[in-house]
C-alpha cells in the first residue's frame, strides 16, 4: 500500500504525463540498432512501422474497447495512396505520408458511423466483414491497385532531398523511427488527457458515459478516425520504404497479426503495441530462420506460454514484476 495522498485531477495528469526513466531508456535503446546490428536494420524499420500500426490499434482496442479484425483496411489504404501518388509522379515522402494519412482518416471517419453503433461480437464481425470486402474490392480494381502482382512503379524521392534509401536500410530505419516517435508523442498526449480518460470510461461501461456528459458516439468516432489516420501513416511508410504494395497490406492476415501482437505486448498500455510488435516480429524472424517450415509451431507455443504466464501481456507481466520488486518508476 502506498502512502501517497490522492492528489487533485491536475496533479494526477501531471504525474502521469511526466516521463519515466523506463520510457527514456526505451527510446534511447531504439537508437542502438544502427550501431549494434546494422544488418538487421531493414527488419528494424519494418518493426517500427508495424509498431506504429499496433499503436493505432491500441488506441481503439486497448483504450476504447473497440475490437477490430479489419484494421488493416486503413493501413492498406494508406499504403496504396502513398504508392499511387509515387507512381503518378509525386514521390516526396513526407507529403505523401500526410496525404495517405488523410485518405485513411477519411475512410475511417466514414466507417466510424457504422462502428460506433455496435458492440461485442457484432462489432468484431462487422469490422471483419468490412476488411474482407475492401480486400475483394482491391483485388477487382486491379487496374488501380495492380491486383495480385502488386503496385509497380513506385519510386520514393530522397527525404528532404538529401537522404536516399540505401540497401542497408539506414535511411528507412531513421525515417520510420522518427515518424513513430513523433506520432507516439501525439498519442501519449491524447491518452493522458480528459479525452483519454473518457475513452477508458467508454471501454469499461459505455452505456453510463453519456450520463456524466461524455458523448459516447462522438468520442468513438473521433478516436476511430485518429486511429485510422495513424494506421494510414504506417501503411504509407511501408509503401515508401519498400517501394512495393500488394493486396496483403489490407488483408485479413495483417489485421489478425496486429491483434495478436497487441495482446502479446499488453493492451491498454501505450508501449504494448510497440513491445508486442518487436517481440513477435523478432521471434518470427528467428524461428523462421531456424526452421523455415514449422516455425508456426514455436510461435504457437510462445503465444500459449505468454497467455498462461503473463495474463496482461508482456508489459502487464513486467509491471507486476516491477510492483513486486517495489520499483517506483
Amino acid at each position: 500500500m502506498t502512502s501517497e495522498t490522492i492528489a487533485g485531477p491536475v496533479q494526477q495528469f501531471q504525474a502521469q504525463i511526466r516521463w519515466r526513466w523506463s520510457e527514456v531508456l526505451f527510446w534511447l535503446a531504439t537508437l542502438l540498432p544502427p550501431v549494434l546490428v546494422p544488418s538487421y536494420l531493414v527488419l528494424a524499420s519494418q518493426i517500427a512501422i508495424t509498431a506504429l500500426f499496433a499503436l493505432s490499434l491500441d488506441l481503439i482496442l486497448g483504450f476504447s474497447g473497440i475490437i477490430s479484425l479489419g484494421h488493416a483496411a486503413y493501413f492498406g489504404v494508406g499504403a496504396y495512396t502513398a504508392g499511387l501518388l509515387s507512381k503518378w509522379g509525386w514521390g516526396e515522402p513526407v507529403s505523401g505520408l500526410l496525404i495517405a494519412g488523410f485518405a485513411a482518416g477519411l475512410l475511417g471517419y466514414v466507417t466510424s458511423f457504422v462502428i460506433a453503433r455496435f458492440r461485442h461480437l457484432a462489432l468484431i464481425m462487422i469490422t471483419l466483414g468490412l476488411g474482407l470486402l475492401l480486400q475483394e474490392a482491391a483485388n477487382s480494381a486491379s487496374w488501380l491497385t495492380g491486383g495480385f502482382d502488386g503496385l509497380q512503379g513506385i519510386h520514393t524521392w530522397p527525404i528532404f532531398q538529401k537522404f536516399d534509401f540505401d540497401l542497408y536500410g539506414y535511411t528507412a530505419y531513421s525515417y520510420s523511427l522518427a515518424v513513430l516517435f513523433l506520432v507516439f508523442l501525439v498519442a501519449r498526449r491524447l491518452i493522458h488527457s480528459p479525452f483519454g480518460l473518457a475513452l477508458r470510461g467508454i471501454r469499461e461501461n459505455g452505456q453510463r458515459m453519456p450520463a456524466i456528459g461524455a458523448p459516447m458516439h462522438a468520442h468513438i468516432r473521433t478516436i476511430y478516425t485518429i486511429a485510422a489516420i495513424i494506421a494510414g501513416i504506417a501503411g504509407a511508410m511501408l509503401a515508401q520504404t519498400t517501394e512495393t504494395v500488394s493486396l496483403e497490406a489490407l488483408g485479413f492476415q495483417r489485421s489478425a497479426d496486429v491483434v495478436v501482437m497487441l495482446i502479446l505486448g499488453g493492451t491498454g498500455r501505450l508501449y504494448g503495441g510497440l513491445v508486442g510488435a518487436a517481440v513477435y516480429m523478432v521471434a518470427r524472424d528467428q524461428f523462421s530462420g531456424l526452421n523455415p517450415q514449422y516455425w508456426y509451431f514455436w510461435i504457437g507455443l510462445l503465444l500459449i506460454a505468454v497467455v498462461m504466464l503473463l495474463p496482461n501481456g508482456i508489459l502487464g507481466g513486467l509491471a507486476l514484476l516491477a510492483r513486486c520488486l517495489g520499483v517506483r518508476s
Partner: protein, 392 residues
C-alpha cells in the same frame, strides 16, 4: 548526403568482398521462397529439386564451394521478399538470388537484384513481365502466355470453335484468360462466355453449371495447384459434363498428379498444355524421376524441375565465368545457354533472358491402371509471346 550514402555502401561492399574473399571461394545462393503457409508444398518441391541437383553434381563448381542459404517468405508478401533478399545479401553475403515462387515476391526482389547488382534466378514465378524488372534475372520455369496462347491456337487447329473460359480471380488467372483468349481468337475462334471464380473458392458447382449452360465446344479452366483441381474434376463429373463432347482444356496444374488422385476417373479426357510431366518419355527424365523417388519418396513436378534446372543454370554459368559471381558476367554466360532438361530441350533467350522450351499437349488416360497425362502433341521452341509482342 547522396555521396555519403554511396560511400557507406561502397565501404560495406568492400568489407563484404573482403569477407567473401577470406571465405576461401564460397558462392552463396540465397533461396527466397515460401517454406510455410499455403504455398509451402511448391516451396518444398523446388527445394527438393535444388537438393537433388547438388547431390548428383556435388557442391563444388569451378573451384568454389556452393552454399545454400534458405529464407522463408511465408506466402504472398512482397515487402518481406524484398527484405529477405536484402538481408540475404547484406547479412549472409549471398552472391546469387534464387527461388521466388510467387509473382509479387519476384517483382519486389527484382528491385534488389537490380540495385545491388546480383544475379537472380526465377525458379517458378510465371508472369511475363518479371524478367524485365532486372537486367540480371533469368527464368527457368515457364510463363503463362507461353503455355496458354499455344493452347488457344492448338484448340482452334484441332476443331474447337466456341469456348467458355473460367479462371481464378487473380493475376495468373487473368494472364491465363487473356493468353488463351488471344491465342484462340487470333486463330479464328469465338469465346462464348467468361467468368472468374474467387481465389479461395472450394465449391465449383455454380460456376461449372453456368459454363455448361452456355453449351460450348470446350471449357477452358485456369486453376492453380492445390485442392481446387480435384474439386473441379469431381464437379464436372457430377454435373454430367462429358469430356468427349465438351472438351475440357487447361494449364497443367488442372491434371497434376495429386489432382488426378483426388478426382479419379472424372479426369479422363481432360486436355492440358504444360512443360513438364513426370511421365515424360525420355531417358534423362526416367533417371531423374527414379533418383527423385529414391531421395524424397514422391514424384517430381514442375516446381521440382524449375529448381533443378535453376541449379543447372547457376552451375553452368559459374563454369563459364570461372567462378566469377559478377552479375553481368553470370547473366551473359546464361544468355543463350541450351541444355537437355528432364522436361525436354530448353534454352535461355538471349534477348529476354526468359526460358524457351517445348509446350506439350497432353490428355488424361488410363495407362496400366493409373491415370496419367499422355503427351500426344507438342509445339517446340516456344518463346514467351507476350514479351515478343512488347518488343515490336
Amino acid at each position: 548526403m547522396r555521396r555519403l550514402t554511396i560511400a557507406i555502401i561502397a565501404i560495406t561492399a568492400a568489407g563484404l568482398a573482403a569477407k567473401t574473399a577470406a571465405a576461401q571461394g564460397t558462392v552463396k545462393i540465397g533461396v527466397v521462397m515460401s517454406y510455410s503457409g499455403q504455398f509451402a508444398d511448391p516451396g518444398a518441391q523446388i527445394d527438393n529439386g535444388i537438393k537433388l541437383y547438388m547431390k548428383q553434381h556435388g557442391d563444388t563448381v569451378a573451384g568454389k564451394k556452393i552454399e545454400i542459404v534458405r529464407k522463408d517468405n511465408g506466402g504472398i508478401a512482397p515487402d518481406v521478399a524484398k527484405r529477405l533478399s536484402q538481408e540475404v545479401i547484406v547479412r549472409d553475403g549471398a552472391d546469387v538470388l534464387a527461388g521466388f515462387d510467387l509473382t509479387p515476391n519476384a517483382l519486389a526482389a527484382a528491385d534488389v537484384s537490380e540495385k545491388a547488382k546480383k544475379f537472380m534466378v526465377d525458379m517458378n514465378a510465371a508472369t511475363s513481365i518479371i524478367t524485365t524488372k532486372s537486367p540480371y534475372m533469368v527464368r527457368t520455369s515457364f510463363t503463362v502466355p507461353q503455355l496458354n496462347e499455344t493452347l488457344g491456337a492448338w484448340a482452334y487447329k484441332n476443331g474447337l470453335r466456341k469456348v467458355y473460359t473460367l479462371v481464378s480471380d487473380f493475376g495468373p488467372g487473368y494472364d491465363g484468360e487473356a493468353s488463351f483468349q488471344k491465342g484462340f481468337k487470333d486463330a479464328g475462334g469465338e469465346i462464348v462466355g467468361a467468368a472468374r471464380y474467387p481465389v479461395a473458392n472450394l465449391d465449383f458447382t455454380p460456376f461449372l453449371q453456368r459454363a455448361k449452360d452456355a453449351s460450348p465446344d470446350g471449357i477452358y479452366i485456369w486453376v492453380p495447384g492445390g485442392p481446387q483441381p480435384a474439386a473441379i474434376g469431381k464437379t464436372l463429373k457430377e454435373l454430367g459434363v462429358d469430356p468427349a463432347k465438351t472438351r475440357i482444356l487447361g494449364q497443367g496444374e488442372l491434371t497434376q498428379e495429386e489432382a488426378l488422385k483426388g478426382m479419379g476417373d472424372a479426369g479422363l479426357g481432360i486436355i492440358t498444355a504444360f512443360h513438364y510431366d513426370y511421365n515424360h518419355d525420355s531417358a534423362m527424365n526416367k533417371a531423374f524421376v527414379a533418383a527423385y523417388q529414391a531421395e524424397f519418396k514422391r514424384n517430381p513436378d514442375m516446381f521440382s524441375v524449375g529448381g533443378y534446372d535453376g541449379m543447372h543454370l547457376i552451375y553452368e554459368a559459374l563454369k563459364k565465368t570461372n567462378g566469377d559471381t559478377d552479375a553481368e558476367a553470370l547473366t551473359n554466360a546464361a544468355k543463350g545457354m541450351k541444355w537437355e532438361s528432364p522436361r525436354g530441350p530448353m534454352s535461355i533467350d538471349p534477348d529476354t533472358r526468359d526460358v524457351i522450351q517445348t509446350v506439350y499437349v497432353r490428355r488424361v488416360e488410363k495407362v496400366g491402371g493409373k491415370l496419367v497425362n499422355v503427351e500426344f502433341d507438342k509445339v517446340e521452341n516456344v518463346k514467351d509471346p507476350f514479351k515478343a509482342r512488347m518488343k515490336n
